[in-house]
Symmetry: C2
Subunit: 641 residues, 2 copies
């Protein structure tokens, strides 16, 4: 395993104290933060490097020179406040907060871990001022912070950073409009204009046209400069403090991946056929070592120029990486392939994407059927209502994005479409608790409840590749209505084996294990894996747990339900979701309606509270949803009978 070394805090203090030119110093500090960011992401095994690097010069300037925050202290009411609306640039911010002694080392080196820091900003982390990560909310929230400061007579400026792809979100324009009208003038927005969003250049996904005049038309004071030039940045912030009659926006032209030659977007896009590969995910060992060497050599060269000794780094104790999980299966891959196959027979299929084509595995569809693929950018509401219009004309839209963004951001639009009683398939990718690294903004534990009260809505979550193909086929062939397909985004911890000859039948699931003491209903590869682990543990103790795969989240065939329960006196449901409004509740209703509960015992398990950030095992254990915890709860519950 590659060796990881951190630039310790005293090195930042040394450079900060050194008698060298301010901008040279800021450049050194920013690069030192880049090195530490790289290390933390490599150590975590995931994280966003590209936009951490594009924003780091600005963030370094803000905390080391522009803002009073570090001096006054985070709790102080009159402090300047900075936060990032896009949020995935937070590893870079952590590096700055670590360098300033605000974020302790033991947390900083544990990015995306239960006892470390979150994959997206969360105020439970020292120095973080607001939760973000779900795009488009930051300017509105900063507006609230600035308005409160005015109301409470508190000092301090408010700075918020947005991405440029993020400017595709409508809420941004609501905020531009209201902030100007409400004269929330103590508001400084910095657009990290690095030109590249999740997969591709912004200009390809949804061009922002003339951004500066757009924002001026909204009544804002707008400046534009090189986001890597400290002199220019300082001049703009000085200019902003002179403008008292309106909110201010800086469009900072930056390079995505700034500071590592092969990660800077012009080179990176060319190297990867127009796709940018450093947006998320950790670099392989070779790329890591090349990047770390490039940054630290540049720093040492600069230090030498300033007649300062070279960097001392601190080797980190190797962190045992948790096993990445066995199966090679990804249900999302099966979905993507099945979608391409279905499109061959069904010319009415149109696929919509919200700038997550790679993650949602619909790139192959995009390449094969460009005319029937609509890249709608980070504009979920618009995407869903557009799907409604396509459906009104008789086409069959298949809408793709992450579950949190689709079910929650476009919920009203989904309802509006539903009221037209056309047919639309909504694919909720990245559903459930796992992966838990990105944090609560991305972990979708409410989507089933958000679709649940829609009339004519059928929800399905398949457990393996085969069932995924069956589920998509079912949705395509089914009559008019709203179909919600819920998919795990990561690799399956194991390939769930279905009974031979298994057929996907409305309202019916399948028992995966024998056992006549208790039945445990679950769905999807993640929770079924834990359910099967629990069954194995309990079997050794002589308790027969019948694990049932139940892909239908709100449909039940009463006769099947009776059969599958058989002689089981105890019924358990584990939801990869909040325990409210998911399979557990639907099941309980079905049991009571069918008279199957009577004297049986019923308990549901689910993601209680806010979803924990960490490795899969950390998150599952925290919520008591890993196999061992499930077995324990079932054991105890039996004893209490």
């Amino acid at each position: 395993m590659v060796k990881l070394s951190l630039i310790p805090i005293y090195e930042f203090q040394r450079v900060r104290a050194a008698p060298i030119h301010k901008y040279t110093k800021l450049g050194l500090l920013a690069d030192m933060c880049r090195a530490n960011t790289l290390v933390s992401v490599k150590r975590a095994g995931s994280g966003h490097l590209g936009s951490s690097f594009s924003s780091l010069d600005i963030v370094t300037l803000l905390y080391y020179s522009e803002m009073n925050t570090a001096q006054l202290g985070i709790g102080q009411p009159d402090r300047d406040i900075y936060f990032s609306s896009k949020g995935h640039d937070v590893p870079g911010l952590y590096a700055v907060l670590f360098a300033l002694g605000i974020l302790p080392k033991d947390k900083f080196i544990k990015l995306r871990r239960r006892d470390g820091t979150f994959g997206h900003p969360d105020i439970r982390t020292p120095g973080i001022e607001a939760n973000s990560g779900s795009l488009g909310m930051g300017i509105s929230k900063a507006k609230g912070i600035a308005a409160a400061k005015a109301l409470l007579g508190r000092g301090g400026r408010v700075f918020v950073m947005t991405g440029d792809g993020e400017l595709q979100e409508g809420q941004i324009y609501e905020a531009l409009q209201t902030a100007a009208h409400q004269k929330v003038n103590n508001l400084n927005v910095i657009v990290d204009h690095n030109k590249v969003q999740s997969d591709k250049p912004v200009a390809e996904i949804t061009d922002l046209a003339d951004l500066a005049s757009k924002c001026r038309a909204f009544g804002w004071h707008v400046a534009r400069c090189d986001g890597h030039d400290f002199r220019q940045l300082e001049r703009v912030f000085a200019e902003f403090s002179e403008v008292a009659d309106r909110p201010k926006m800086l469009i900072a032209d930056t390079l995505k991946g700034r500071g590592v030659s092969f990660m800077e977007h012009p080179a990176a896009l060319a190297a990867c056929g127009g796709l940018y590969r450093w947006h998320a995910g950790a670099p392989d060992d070779q790329s890591f070592e090349a990047a770390f060497a490039e940054i630290t050599e540049r720093v040492n060269h600069e230090l030498a120029e300033c007649r300062l000794p070279p960097l001392q780094v601190e080797e980190l104790a190797p962190e045992p990486r948790p096993a990445s999980g066995g199966a090679r299966e990804w249900v999302a891959d099966a979905f993507g392939q099945a979608l391409v196959e279905a499109a061959a027979e069904r010319e009415d299929i149109v696929v919509l994407d919200g700038d997550l084509a790679s993650d949602c595995r619909i790139r192959s569809f995009e390449l094969k059927y460009p005319q029937r693929f609509i890249e709608n950018g980070i504009a979920e509401q618009d995407m869903v209502s557009m799907a409604g219009g396509l459906a009104l004309q008789g086409l069959l839209p298949v809408v793709n994005t992450f579950a949190s963004f689709l079910a929650a951001k476009a919920n009203e639009q989904i309802y509006n479409n539903a009221c037209e009683q056309t047919k639309i398939i909504y694919v909720c990718h990245y559903a459930g608790l796992i992966p838990a690294g990105p944090g609560s903004s991305h972990q979708s534990i409410r989507d089933i409840s958000l679709f649940g009260a829609l009339p004519d809505c059928i929800m399905l979550q398949p457990c393996n590749a085969t069932e995924t193909r069956m589920a998509l086929r079912y949705c395509i062939d089914a009559p008019k209505g709203i179909y919600m397909l819920r998919l795990v985004i990561g690799p399956s911890p194991r390939t769930i084996a279905l009974p031979s000859g298994y057929r996907l039948t409305p309202g019916r699931g399948a028992a995966l294990t024998d056992g006549s003491d208790a039945a445990l209903f679950a769905y999807g590869p993640v929770m079924l894996n834990e359910a099967l682990l629990a069954a194995e543990l309990l079997k050794a103790e002589g308790l027969g747990l019948r694990v049932v795969n139940m892909p239908w989240l709100n449909r039940f065939d009463p006769s099947w339900l009776g059969e599958v329960l058989g002689s089981c006196r105890r019924i358990y449901v584990v939801d990869d979701h909040s325990p409210v409004g998911a399979l557990g509740d639907a099941m309980l209703n079905a049991l009571v309606t069918c008279g199957l509960l009577s004297t049986r015992r019923f308990k549901k398990f689910g993601v209680e509270g806010y979803p924990a950030c960490g490795t899969p095992q950390e998150a599952l254990q925290y919520h008591g949803l890993d196999g061992t915890s499930l077995a324990g709860m079932i054991r105890v519950d039996g004893e209490s009978m």
Copy 2:
């Protein structure tokens, strides 16, 4: 009761066929539609006159001269398509569709009735092309329709009308951005720029600044003209058909209430201290007669000028208005008063509004505490995230708008705030099925399920004025967390009497009637009224129904639950909401967890399917939720035991 007369279809045919100048003819037809619109709204007892009138000249031109729709027929794939995104101008559109013979008279004269037309556009009405009424979605949907036409090689242009206040919704800007980028050029947006939104001038609520240059900056072709001048409108549409390289927007300057002197906004605003009183609601008899006379006299004068005989009108058989309901109590009034009182002691209270201050009864707070009142316009996502920022600074935001728009449109923002574990009170006004006139876009039957899976969320719906004051007090004094207060917007059908000495206690409700055969749990004045009616009916048959007011929608005190159930063997819950994810489900879980269900019978009733439009009685009966239906179901259920 005032006499109502309709201008019959043959009169429209006569004028259409008359050898007079085109623009004179269009003016006559538009005014004749105004007269019929006025009649339909008066007959319905509610409806939107102001924006029907401001848009009618444009809609008349489109259907009578610009579009091929009437000639080709509504079902024809190559037809031009028009719909209104704001939707509340639909009474005017109905009048045009009636005049053209597309909408039958028996439906047209039954605005907002079960067997008539919907309060907001619904495709189940002949001639209506899309559902709307929840603002901001129309351009996106029209984009989908236009994209489908291109994909399917269908002819016909796509026209969509928006309001100007509607341009405060962020989705509008998502659509402007994507439509330009995706080159959906067969898209013609008409902004009915009548300068006034629900309560006040747009410029006061959230100014749109330089609208034309704003939209040009988004890459659109923009034209502006007088929306009441047919010659100018024709010229613009001709110009639009020449522009093939981008989507087009017409900013049509109009007068809200155009055509009735005292309803036109300059006069109306002056007459009412800056508030516009003709946005929604039917005119009183005197105003109706004055308005009808003014329009028809103008039409007759014009006909005389053209040497044509005067209008013949058809008197409508008087429509017995359903009783408007007994009690003078409005729980929303009690909320507004209690909020003002609470603000005197609690300086941290800040009230946010989404352009519904009058309906939400927070105008008195606005007047008394202007510094702590934030009018955020029709921008719910921005409002909710701004509340999050205010809460991060330690203030207590009370967020107000209609339940549908708050719970569904800003759902992701509510979750993001919740993850910060601050304290915010969300007030869901216009919750539930009633009033049913506005239609499914406004009837909120999913809000409880949309809040349900939020950790730390407590939901309450009070049944009368007293309990409303207690509920607000509870939310204000309670610890950190998310509080959702659900309020009926209309008058209470009766004032629900609570037991003397009643105290609002977490998890506890109160029995309102004796009865030991069955217990029926309900909440809010509307459903409790029906529950009490059911109890009265069943009592006469010797069945004792214990009606229980349960204001806590997701909290239960087990010991109280046991007490209140007593010897009742049958448990019923009636939700003013979809039966999925509301009190019924929470109650069932509580009963099972507390071991109180065992051999008891449980059934839940709620709003199944899509909410019906009509009078309160029509909607309640349609969904089987009126007292008689409830009694019937409970009776039958007992017999089947």
